[in-house]
Symmetry: C2
Subunit: 569 residues, 2 copies
């Protein structure tokens, strides 16, 4: 059973709950994008994903990528699917019309990638990296580089990579050693080795554009000495550049995507942006990239949910409590199984709403005319993105494992395809910044520097979108207020003990995620039709997800109080 996108659910969340169309049409860039056009795009996207991409997922895992003599063969069907994908214009959805793009809102692209990830993350890794490279080049590339590469990346005719990690430099990119030495002709000579390069080599597209984090001569040590180079696989005229794939990693999952060890051996490259500003150039696209990773977690969880839901409706074992007759019941009727399924649905739909809201804020941050509106949108993206990246990928993994549990022993065998989701999604907790780094990013880098002022403003904004006359809304408002107070407590206590923030960062991120989900489910419940499709996950959220809010709140509060007491005593 392959994943099937459900555009109706997305339309409900986008239009009924978020009023997304009105928001993007307030931006001159998208004034003409009416809901009917957006719906048609989603309908077509769903069809393409279901027909062309989802059916290749199993072979991507079972056959995987093959490495031979420096070349990588993608799994069966992947090249043809990728060629159809870019020729149909899907990579260009949100790119500028000037570069061959369709100029649609980024939030629609986020939905497309959610579905692609759910259908086949091994495939999706390749185009998933295009958008960051496109944005990076658009903002920081020289006119010559933009002329040569931008349209190829906008349309997806060529693919791209991010070459950051080295064997000794993972979370700590300041340790990167790859060297780039200017040549007389204005190019760079690039030498070094990179690991974990997704799509570093393959046969999906005719060229691959590598963005390589490197050091120019005399650069200072640490992150401030890092620059960014563009190093293509094929030079102009089609000559092969000195970029080599040395091996592909054997991984836990995601076998459809080649994870390459790359060697640059006097390769030819060009500087992107200013020397020493390599990290800044890459961080342009970080929020969008991390949002997409959050949607990978949610998408793969949804795929696992669809399988488990279908299995639970068919499989009969034992009579459920209260069932009539002597026949065994569908296991969906057993409370333990219903709980698993409804709880995952609560996470998926609540997280979707938050992710779509973030996608809209990416559009606002880029295109709003009012600088204050841009700043507010930017604040949302900065604060919500690490929360969603960590919480959605963790739930992606734990929830996919819960869906596997629905299958009993059958879940552990390959035949049903459910265990592939558990293996595939696990990496999303690691890449694009580990989840622990997301937590530090949120609390240490973003909440504490202004003593929680921006964070507080964001929570007040959410509060004001709720209607205290509704019970779920009032409950969510109370939690948002508790969270504001918590941020202040932690900010104060951290002055006495700077280490505290690092100790409570994971719990602080988690309690924030749960408060945001409470907001999301209040908003969904206010608009949802009277239907078990929405009422069951809403009930599951209150009963089985939300109690963790109080636990994490108490944990962080207690840690902050202990510091305050020690400082006072």
């Amino acid at each position: 059973m392959d994943y099937l996108p459900r555009p109706d659910d997305t339309r409900f969340l986008l239009h009924e709950v978020l009023g997304a169309g009105e928001q993007w049409r307030a931006l001159p860039a998208f004034a003409e994008v009416d809901d009917a056009l957006a719906d048609q795009v989603l309908q077509e996207a769903g069809k393409f994903v279901a027909e062309a991409i989802a059916p290749l997922n199993r072979a991507g895992d079972a056959v995987g990528c093959r490495f031979e003599a420096g070349a990588v063969a993608a799994p069966p069907g992947f090249r043809a699917a990728y060629q159809a994908f870019w020729q149909a214009g899907w990579p260009a959805l949100s790119a500028d019309a000037a570069h061959g793009g369709q100029g649609l809102p980024a939030v629609l692209e986020a939905v497309l990638y959610e579905w692609l990830s759910a259908a086949n993350q091994g495939f999706t890794m390749a185009p998933g990296l295009l958008h960051g490279a496109y944005e990076c080049l658009k903002h920081h590339g020289s006119p010559e580089l933009r002329e040569r590469y931008l349209a190829k990346l906008a349309t997806g005719e060529w693919l791209a990579t991010m070459c950051l990690t080295e064997a000794h430099a993972g979370s700590d990119l300041g340790l990167v050693r790859t060297r780039a030495v200017p040549r007389a002709d204005g190019t760079l000579r690039v030498d070094g080795s990179k690991i974990f390069i997704s799509g570093g080599e393959h046969d999906l597209a005719d060229n691959i554009v590598h963005l390589v984090l490197c050091r120019l001569p005399d650069a200072p040590p640490g992150p401030k000495g890092l620059s960014l180079a563009l190093v293509p696989k094929l030079l102009e005229g089609g000559a092969r550049n000195a970029v080599f794939c040395e091996r592909i990693e054997e991984k836990m999952g995601l076998h459809g995507s080649p994870t390459c060890a790359m060697r640059f051996d006097e390769a030819t490259g060009w500087l992107i942006g200013e020397a020493g500003r390599g990290l800044a150039a890459m961080f342009v696209m970080m929020n969008a990239a991390r949002l997409h990773v959050a949607l990978q977690g949610i998408g793969m969880l949804d795929a696992a949910w669809q399988k488990a839901h279908a299995y639970a409706a068919e499989r009969r074992q034992m009579r459920a409590p209260g069932a009539q007759g002597t026949e065994p019941s569908p296991i969906a009727e057993h409370p333990a199984i219903a709980r698993i399924l409804d709880t995952q649905r609560a996470w998926i739909d609540g997280a979707r709403l938050l992710a779509y809201r973030t996608g809209l804020r990416l559009d606002l941050a880029r295109h709003a005319e009012d600088p204050k509106a841009r700043a507010a949108a930017q604040r949302w993206c900065a604060l919500a993105t690490p929360v969603l990246k960590a919480a959605c990928t963790q739930q992606g993994f734990e929830g996919a494992s819960a869906c596997l549990q629905v299958f009993g022993g059958h879940g552990y065998v390959r035949e049903w395809g459910i265990e592939q989701h558990v293996r595939d999604v696990r990496v999303a907790m690691l890449y694009e910044g580990t989840n622990e780094i997301q937590a530090i990013d949120l609390l240490v880098r973003k909440v504490l520097p202004d003593a929680g002022a921006d964070f507080s403003a964001l929570l007040l904004e959410l509060r004001d979108e709720l209607d205290a006359a509704r019970e779920a809304d009032a409950d969510a408002q109370r939690r948002l207020a508790q969270l504001r107070y918590l941020a202040t407590s932690v900010a104060l206590a951290s002055q006495a003990r700077p280490r505290l923030a690092y100790e409570v960062a994971d719990d602080f991120l988690r309690v924030t995620a749960l408060a945001l989900l409470a907001w999301a489910w209040a908003r969904i419940a206010a608009q949802a039709p009277d239907d078990v499709r929405w009422s069951q996950p809403a009930a599951a959220f209150r009963r089985w997800v939300l109690p963790e809010f109080d636990m994490r709140l108490a944990m962080v509060k207690q840690a902050a109080q202990a510091v305050a007491q020690a400082a006072a005593g």
Copy 2:
């Protein structure tokens, strides 16, 4: 890096905390087993596991079992290791001297299997099933069957399987269809298909004895119509019986153990025990088998912890908060990593203490002279075993994933071996009764039928082993009291709404597990030397594990109160 057993830790828990030797020496069967002998056995076991078993783990995963023309080849080195294993007497550790066993306490065997599982669960599956088959045959086999098979199973010269599951009958064994028809010569003709038969076919030992759940002619439908047959791979004289392995499953992990689909095609078998009492005959060994699965979870988590701990000490990325100088710190010094490692240690050592206590209670239940002591020990085993099986295997999986997280992106690639633990341990949440079934077993089948009386008695027994003058002990006593009260509330509310017990079973099991762990850590802390080896996990337990107790308690309490209110209103 292979797993290395640490007998000193086990000795501390067994002797210093539990006073295990005194307890088993009070039993006539083990009066002569002094601590020095037990320590020597553990020392030798640790050596054998480290030298002969652990080094084969990676090949067990990478090469796996090979199926060809009905035969199964075990991974490289497995047959030689198994032959050395049984010839050294390890399977016979707790078997009766009359059958060639060493007559040692079952608690020592539990430790041996914890280490074997940690070192190489793919290998350990094969002998792991021996002990249940031995006990089953010892208690229910006819004199002829015992004469023919008991010594071979006691020593492990032959191996055994449990043939329960059929494609349509997993958790619901009452649906089993395999038929057994008596022949004139007193044998049975056995026909049917079984799936998920661990070790159904292999080349480790010279014969395999299958215990097959089946139906005699005219048996009633459901579980009461089930009988148990012994069906050997080779008949006397060495003729091949009509037992066929049709395929082995492709699985998420545990590739070192063949999971076989078996076909019995007019195979020859013999009835074990009475007709229609097949489930009862198998359930003799259920507590011991489930305890071993709990120790698999803990053992594999310990193996993952050892790898993560070593990696975190070596790998340097970024300065830890408060670190001096400019060099990156070992990641073990980063609070998020230290938390992961200490939290897993808290689970491992607390769960070990509970599992060893349960192993001792298995010995008491079998060998105590006083029937009241046997009954009390039996009560502990009945109640604690499902709790440990579910909680330890869940933590085995989630904790192994947390240990993988320590490696960052490196955790996702095969090279480091950490992802194998995550894949291997996942199955322990499914087999020997899914964790959801353990929760129903605890609450619905064991706590509620006597309105919590036995459960309450067990909690009082634990309370009395604590010293309220100590802070950790007083805290644990308070939680045990809360749990007693909770059981009573659920028992009352379940009368109004029988479905309630099924709805809260998972949370009830979990809150019980956390109360037992609080007891365990109070006991450990009271005896532990002043050393970070024990103080850090103790602190991690209080700070990061125990808060879940309050959350689950509140969840169950609230559900019970809602029912009580609805009934009253």
